[in-house]
Symmetry: C2
DNA sequence: ATGAAAGCGCTAACAT
DNA sequence: ATGTTAGCGCTTTCAT
């Protein structure tokens, strides 16, 4: 870890490089041009009240004519805070986080902060580096979205700056955590399917994916509670399209063959959908299908997947609110918020066919 | 614009807030603990060679025991450069940019820089603010991905820091531009369809979307060149699923009815695909379909869309390379790079049916 | 209402 | 090989 922190600057960076010919104007340039002290310029820039109208105008005019732009680096150094919150997204390819980011951004702006996004591209090492970068940049707080970081690494970071985690139920009391109730989501899927009359309801698991184990727990407990425990069957999967396809292939050969499947995320569900149709069956006539996450994919008319929705935007908003609270009140304790998911019924679920054994 | 720049700090920020009880350790703390001067610590931190092994060890030990982490803010202030490049993504919901970001990140890292991502959420004002933030943060360079900013705003920024634009053919000589050749892409789609034997080839336009007008130009020129100019027909659209659906509805009623359609992006193509099937026709039997962008959507087995691929990752890499070049050599001139797209044939295109008029 | 001065944490000459 | 010194551009007392 220390190696990531120290001595990591490329050598050539130490040699002098071509320099900008003219430096950008500073507060001193503005002060001179306006014929005032630099403190006065600083006051005007920060919108302090106690400044006469005449000097305010003079300063603004000078600043504008010079094209002056406050240097946030210098400001942050003296204020010892940057007013920006770093956000580490494990995987920007996962559209799930885009909406969480909307929530984060809105809440940050409301508090006078801005977010700076970095990504680790699913690589824990790169993520750790991104974290270190944000820490060195002295971000006032850090949000981890779908982080694949080791808890110890996160705990260490949480000791120097407030940290919030979204999208995964991170096992750490020192960080704010905002998640959707994946257990409840799994139950919701089963209850919907059982309510339609399905008995033989299988699941395609999400493996190591965030929330996967909770979703499976919800599936299993609901099956048991509804007296369907003996019909429960979980196929391995991994949150991918291919995983969904393979899971379905095995399920289609099972006896009794399930009449409904709960896939642990939308992508796997789409893979399942495709494999079912390729095998000559129809959805939902021959088999019902429920996904998870309510991504844009599920909403496509061409797919119209029944799925479980996570309040993504709200997750982002709450996480940022908790984080800002701790930034401004360092003694406040971190909290864990679990939000209820909600079923979105579309076109891939229907009652099972009368005949118990569907055929092509 | 000046209003975005000055006096925008919320008033409460000026009051004192709860402070961290213990400040993070500085280079001076490390120096004291190690019994050396702070310059020596600085040297060790930056990995300079001319340091004796013994003092290096002492410094590292001291730094580690204190949990010291270099302050990039202070470092940037004195070096007058931050070694980070700001990236403004117009819309993080658009997965197209995720891969461009990969390329940007890789090339930045190779040059010893890091990227900081911000977003304007499709709102030009928010984008302008993000730009201002990055400028105040003194990013060494800025990349605009799918920017909706006014050319004057961009030109102004380009005067104080190198700027690169990706994904849209920005009309500005002062910025590096890296784009896919949308005209050629449009031609590719038509050539493929015509090669299969289609004559009546329609297009669903992309409206104001980035690259849309070039794609249409390519479509039109290829149709003319192939002697199909009279069969050309362009329906309005807007890069959305709904736009694709509506475009197809009108096309299905046209006489003669086209046997192939080129949609200006994948999302519109998926909308078209859905509407075609809903109307009782089959793809590609009754109608062939080509999209644009080769997004993850197109690659889904359930969709398997023939489409035009943009070298997204390469676009990112080249843009960053050009930008870094100008950062390190301020006198270098900005350049414009146009990359060739490439057709990806999947399952939505086939020769037209023998009967000239397909029926349900 | 305004200015002078100190200092944020660090790097970069310039000594030695 | 190491230390001393002078800033980087800004905010913030403290005077006036």
């Amino acid at each position: 870890m220390s190696s990531a922190r120290f001595g990591s600057i490329p050598e050539d960076r130490q040699k002098t490089r071509d320099r900008q010919l003219s430096r950008p104007p500073t507060i001193v340039d503005v002060a001179e041009r306006a014929g005032v002290s630099k403190s006065l310029v600083s006051r005007v820039m920060r919108g302090e009240r106690a400044v006469s109208a005449s000097s305010r105008e003079a300063v603004i005019a000078a600043a504008e004519s010079l094209g002056y732009r406050p240097n946030a680096v210098a400001r942050s150094l003296v204020q010892r805070r940057t007013f920006n919150v770093g956000v580490i997204i494990s995987d920007l390819h996962n559209i799930f986080f885009a909406e969480v980011l909307d929530g984060l951004g809105v809440a940050a702006a409301a508090g006078g902060y801005r977010i700076l996004i970095t990504t680790g591209n699913r690589d824990p090492d790169a993520e750790a580096q991104a974290l270190e970068q944000l820490l060195q940049l002295r971000a006032d707080g850090i949000v981890l979205a779908g982080a694949r970081l080791q808890p110890e690494v996160v705990a260490a970071a949480a000791r120097s700056v407030p940290v919030a985690v979204v999208g995964s139920n991170f096992p750490l009391a020192e960080v704010d955590v905002v998640v959707n109730d994946d257990v409840r989501g799994g139950e919701l899927a089963v209850e919907h399917l059982a309510g339609l009359g399905h008995v033989c309801i299988a699941m395609i698991d999400g493996g190591e994916g965030a929330g996967a184990s909770d979703r499976r727990a919800g599936y299993e407990s609901a099956m048991r509670r509804l007296g369907l425990g003996r019909q429960a069957r979980v196929e391995p999967g991994d949150f991918t399209e291919a995983g969904g396809r393979e899971g379905i292939r095995r399920l289609l050969e099972a006896r009794p063959r399930p009449t409904a499947v709960f896939a642990s995320n939308d992508l796997a569900a789409v893979g399942a959908l495709n494999a079912i149709e390729e095998a000559g069956y129809q959805v939902p006539r021959d088999m019902s299908l429920v996904g998870y996450d309510n991504t844009a994919l599920a909403a496509l008319r061409h797919i119209s997947l029944t799925t479980v929705n996570q309040p993504r935007r709200q997750i982002g908003e709450l996480a940022m609110a908790s984080l800002l609270r701790r930034i401004e009140h360092p003694t406040a304790r971190a909290r864990r918020q679990v939000l209820p998911p909600e079923l979105v019924v579309r076109a891939t679920t229907a009652p099972p066919r009368a005949s118990s054994s569907p055929s092509p």
